[in-house]
Every structure is written in C-alpha cells, then in structure tokens.
Symmetry: C2
Subunit: 463 residues, 2 copies
Amino acid sequence: MIDSFFYPKSIAVIGATANPKKFGNAVTINILKDKHPDIDLFLISPNKTEILGLKCYDSILDVPQPIDIAIILVPAKIIQKVIDECIEKQVKGIIIITAGFSEIDQEGREEERIIAEKCTKAGIRVMGPNCVGIQNIDLNLNASFIQKAPPGNISMISQSGSFGCASFYALQQEGLGISKFANIGNSIDVSFVDILEFFKNDINSKIISIYMETIKNGKIFVNKLREIIPNKPLILLKGGRTSIGMKAASSHTGSLATNYQILRVAINQVGATLCEDASEFITALKTFSILPIPQGQRIGVLTNSGGSSVLFSDKLEEYKLDLASFSENLKYKMKDYLIPLVKLVNPLDMIGGADEEVYYNITKLMLEEESLDIVVACVVIPPFLEMDSDEHYRGIIRAWNDTKRKKPLIPLIFFGENFDRLNQFAKKERAPIFYTPDEAAYAVKILINRATILSKLDRELSN
Amino acid sequence: MIDSFFYPKSIAVIGATANPKKFGNAVTINILKDKHPDIDLFLISPNKTEILGLKCYDSILDVPQPIDIAIILVPAKIIQKVIDECIEKQVKGIIIITAGFSEIDQEGREEERIIAEKCTKAGIRVMGPNCVGIQNIDLNLNASFIQKAPPGNISMISQSGSFGCASFYALQQEGLGISKFANIGNSIDVSFVDILEFFKNDINSKIISIYMETIKNGKIFVNKLREIIPNKPLILLKGGRTSIGMKAASSHTGSLATNYQILRVAINQVGATLCEDASEFITALKTFSILPIPQGQRIGVLTNSGGSSVLFSDKLEEYKLDLASFSENLKYKMKDYLIPLVKLVNPLDMIGGADEEVYYNITKLMLEEESLDIVVACVVIPPFLEMDSDEHYRGIIRAWNDTKRKKPLIPLIFFGENFDRLNQFAKKERAPIFYTPDEAAYAVKILINRATILSKLDRELSN
C-alpha cells in the first residue's frame, strides 16, 4: 500500500487553484513540472473549468478513471465530505495537506479520529493531516508544496515539513540529495514504521533519515530500526528532547513528545545514529552518503595547520577515540616527501608549505598503509606562496581515487566554505568536505560506531 | 613597547626575497600593498640590489634611519647574527617568523633561550619565533605572510597562524572583521598578557578574542582577563584541551599545554566566553560584534517553522534557559496580524504563510514588549507562495532598525547559507544571521551570560 504513495499511476489534487498565493497552486505546479509521463494528474476544483491548462473536475467522483492518490488541500471544515468521496472513489491513499486539526484543539482531534476510522474501514491509507506532501525524486515526482529535493541516495521521513525544506537547502549545498521524502505531519494513520518498512526494501534508499518529534509506539519503532540497521545506516534527529522543546512540539504536531532519555538508550542500543542537533544530522547524511565504512578504528591525520589538528584531536578524545601510532614502515616511506622540519608523529604536521604533490603522496601512503583504517586530511587553505585554493584538496581526492576509495577519507578544509572552485570540484567528484574540526571528528565517530555495530552483528550471526 | 608592533613608523624585513615561493616575498608584498604613507619599509637581503622596486640592504645596520620593527625570516641557523645586528641597531621590537626552534628539539629551545635573554637585556621585545606576523587593519598594515583580515572591530591573539588564517575566511563570510591581529607562535617573550594589556586600552578593539594552546602563567593571564571583562567581551578557544590534543599541541608550538579543567574553572569564573569548538568561536565573535547585551533573560520566539523552534527550544533547555510567557497585552496586540490558526504561545508558530509584513509586525511588537529582553526570529525560507527568499529577514531587520536595535535580535535562518541576496543584505545592514537552531541558542546563552556578569560586577561596584 505504501508504494502507491511513492509510485502512483494517477493523482488527484483536491483543492487545486490558479491562485499563486495558495498551497493548492504550489502542489499542482510542482507535480506538473518535469512530470513522469506514466503519471496522470487530475485537478479537482468545483466551478472551475481549467487550471494551468488542465481540465478541472467538480468532484473526484467525476474523474473517469481510477485514482491511486488523492492529495487534499480543502479547508478543514469541508474535509469530511471530500474524504467520503475519496472512499467512494476507492483511492489507494490520501495525503491530507490541510492543517488545523489536533495541533489546534480537541475538535480537530475528533475530526482526525473520524477520518482515520472511516479510511481504515475502507482499507485506504492516510498521510497527514498538517503535512507538506511527499516526493519521489527517482520519478521526478514532487507531490508537495515545498521545493523539489536535489537527487540522491538518502530517503527521509520528517514530522515537520519545514525541517524537510531546510534540510534540502543544506543537502543542495553539500552536493547531496534525496531519493524519497515523506512528511507525515500529525500522522493519524501512516506512521514512521510504515514508511520505514517501505524504505527498508527500496534499493534506491541507501541511507534512511528521520526527523521525529513524537512517536506513538516506541517499541515497534525500535524493532523496525533493528531490521534496517544491518543493511542501511539510519540517522535520526529528535525534536522535543527537553520539556521546553516538547511543549513547543506539542503545538506543532498536536501530540505529546516522547521521553527522550528512554528512546535514546533504545536507539543507541540498536545501532542507529542519533544526532543531537541539526548540524550533526547533515554531517551524518554527508558521511554515510559518500564514505565507506572503515575496517577498524586506527586513525591517521595529516595537516598543514597545527591548530586544526590540535582541535580535531581534542574532539576525538571527547568522543573517547585516539590516534594510531605510525608504523616504522610508514614513517620510512613518508620521509621522502617531507621537509626535515616535519616530525614523523601522528598528527603529521607538514607545515604551511605542503602543496598538491605533498598532500597527494602522504594521503596515498596513509590510505595504503595497513595499520591505518581512517585517514583525516586537514587543510587551512594557504593564502601564500602562489598556491591554488583547491590544490591540497585536489591532491587528497586524487590519492583517494587512486586507492579506489576503499578507506574512508575525511578531508577537513577548515572554514573553506566560500571557496567556489573547491566546492565545485567536490561536487563534481562526489567527494565530501568537512569544514570544522568538530564536524570532521563527528564523521569519524559515527563511521567507527557503524563499523562496530556491523562487526558485532556479524559475530552474532556466525555464533 | 607593544604599540610599536601595531603602530610602527619603520619596518625592516630581514630575509626579503623576490622568489614568490618564499615567505619573505609574501610578507614584503603584503606590507607594500595599500601601505600607509607614514610607514617606511626597508628590505634586508644580502647581495641583492632591488626587490619589488625597493632598494635592498646587506644588513639592517646599513639602513640610514632608525627601525621600529624588524621582521626576521632568515633560516634558523643564522638567526643569532641577525638578532645581534637588530640589537646593535636598537630596534624597538622583533618579529621572528622563522620556524624550527623549540617545536623541533632541545637545541631549538636553547636557541630561543639565548635570543630571549639578549633581547631582554637590550630592552627589545620579541614576538615569535614560528609565527606568521601581525596585522593592524586600522592602518592597512599586514605584516604577516597570511591574507589581510577583513576590517572590523575584533582584535585577536592566536597561538596558531593557520588558525588566524582560517578564522579570517570565516569572518569574511559572516561580514565580520578584525582591528588587530597577532600570532605569538612559540612566544619566547611577548605573551598573551602583553598584547591583552595593549588591546585593553585600544579603542578600536571592541571585542577581544584568543586562540590559545598553552599558557605559561595562568594566574597572571586570568587576572588580566579580569581587568578586561567589565569593558569588553573576551572570547577564548583553547586547543589542547585533552591529552591527545595536548600531545598534538606540543609538537605544534613547542610547549606543554595547560591543564584545561583548572583553566576552565578560572576563566568561567572571571566571565570570559570560553568556547568548546571553532564553530562556537565564530558564533561568539558574530554575536558580540553586532548584538547589544540584553537587560535580562526573558526570551521571545517567533517562527514560520515548528521544527526550527522546537530544536531551538531543546538547545535552550540544555543551556538551562527557558522561554518567557507572553503577556496578555502582547497577545492582544499580536492577534491583529495573525491568522486564526496561530496559537498565541511562545514559541509563536505563525505557520508557512507568514510574509515580510507579518514578520515585521510581530518582531517589532516583541522588540517593543517590556516583558521580553531577547527576540529570536526563526525562518525556514519558504519556496512557495511566490515569497522572496529574503523577505522574512528583511521584515525582521526592518523591525530591529525601527526599534533602534536596542534589544538583541537573533535571526535564525535555518540552513539559509546559500541564499546570496539574503547574505548580501545582511552584510549591507551589518546584521547577523544564525544558520542553525544550535547556533542561535548558543548566541542567546552567551549574551545572557555576559548580561549576568555585567550586572554582577555592577552590584559589586555599588556595594
């Protein structure tokens, strides 16, 4: 059933309008744009003959063919009639974008209960209300009123539509993207678990991510995570972790937020990546979208900036991780490429003069070194000695490519956000950039955590 | 004496060169660029007649006029001779950029001891060695080999040159800037305390910031902070907080890092802003560069995105802060501008349709409201209803300007980094943007901390 939401053959927009200041217009325009030829779109708007060149119907019952998904944007007060018509039409799924239900008052809660009851009885799944819609970027389908996500391998369930919207801005900037997106809003029927089950089996959903404010049955949810973790990384950010946050969340999605401490223990145990803020969430998506999982936790660091590796090392220890010792073999090989001032210790401070060649050679030696599992290459872009702003990064990525990207490589380009050529190159190469020591250390931490989980699951299987 | 470093009448670059792959070239070019007419520059480079159109001298002793500051870039092995000549020339201060001293070995440490001893005896102050130089942006003076900082009201002492360099990238992007910058490197003579004393009395140094890896006399340092805090915010980031970080720092600046736990307690007591990572450091600089200190800690929040205010509220509680309750008076006035769906609670979720006018009116009412001290305006830029990407922010800033910027206003534009028009407008208006809920909450926290410190000092004074 959930697949009908992401792969519909026909969609009806109930509450379509030509008024560009209304969400019914935004949804219609978004679906029409680059629409997949196999999807039929029907607009329902009483007393209109045509909107955006498409014929309008007074009711979904007038549409002369079956409808998979009905997207409802009519005012809350006439919603029951529209729902009844969808039931009569035997649609497979309903997305209620309209807001003003349990997040507002008890009356709204009662309306939701009635809708859920009659749709369940009719065997129809309902997403929302109070949501922005869904997207399947693999099909170019944007059945929502927010912007189309950039294409990629991440699938996301968000309880907040605007959180999805904001994430897309961040993903776009990082050169990352979405396969499928659903905003479940007040979630009267279709739940996190339903969509997780679908993402679990969807081959394009390589990474699964969740923004959650409240969960109805934590146990079932955690069990569903347990099924997913062996095959896909799962990244979760919980809003409403504290009592003030919970109060804010309750007026947002109309339900009481869950006790975070209990949830946290369960989610960590099961091996999902639980982020504590929005920056960590994006860093986690970046990390798992692009980097392979390490074979162990032996970390090697090279840098042209003592400060950046000192700050990185601090953060590492806060995460209870440590740096590896360089093998004699590695030191012997590295020496050839370094000036005598450089001390052969980890972190390896190659000093400000290190250029593309030095970065390439040392990164490659570390990536090839058997006694290292993860390589962190720190750069402060030198504004001197006629060096190109992106040359160090190019050297690092060249080494990564030449070693077939087998090991995770963390390029830390300290505060390098506004170097366009660098960022363009990263997107072209589909390579990551981490911009602060804390971001780089967080990436290392979650990669190692996932490696640990996977090897634990492996051991359990072979026992 | 320290003022000679920032306001020299004459500078000698010892080790100047025409080779663009050498630091002696970078420093010369940087000083020459937009050079203040009152500063005379002399190049010392034996066996050269001219570099970059300037006459060269074999020795500083050949320069026919007094020299305030000698900047030394010659190799470590010939440094003692050059120092002796500077002493004979009776320069006021020496900046040793050359590296390869105590950060390398015991022999280097001994060299440093000799230099410090003879310069002290001669009454000459020494900055470095192993540093990038200094900058006084008020004079357009870049006596370093890194890029010139953007102009502004922040003065910075960094023990790492590359940390300064990276910070400048971040400041540039945020529309912030530097008044004076010093990189003290191995710090054999001129210390944090010496420069702090100078910044304390320098009217253009409105905010003082420090990146520190090691401190020789913590007690004197903390006492100096105590003198500064009543008049200027002081922001400090410590590298080498952990044992791994300390090990990394020791090969970086050649000295053992300080026990962080002890330092932390002292610094917090004295009321400086102690950051735990580089992102917090930049956020703190942004906050104190632009925002006024609040009169209290009553926080009001408006938003068009439930998710962003939920995440912000969570972070606030982690910082042990809370949201204010809206007064009946404020609710009464706000109601006129809001649609009926909006619940009049803090955080105020005005829902996705709120536009420039709504943001202007509600922000203004909150800024004018007596029962609120700080206003946080959250936006997820709506990609729908034909809204401009910067209109909400423009409304917010218009309200701030119309209320004469009396209260601190925190605009949280969730993941809005890549909206050029928005960022251009912010720079033009000299207004801040915070890009994540955690960043916004951190800004609120440090503003309230500073307000608390100042009122405590006030009370102590009047007792």
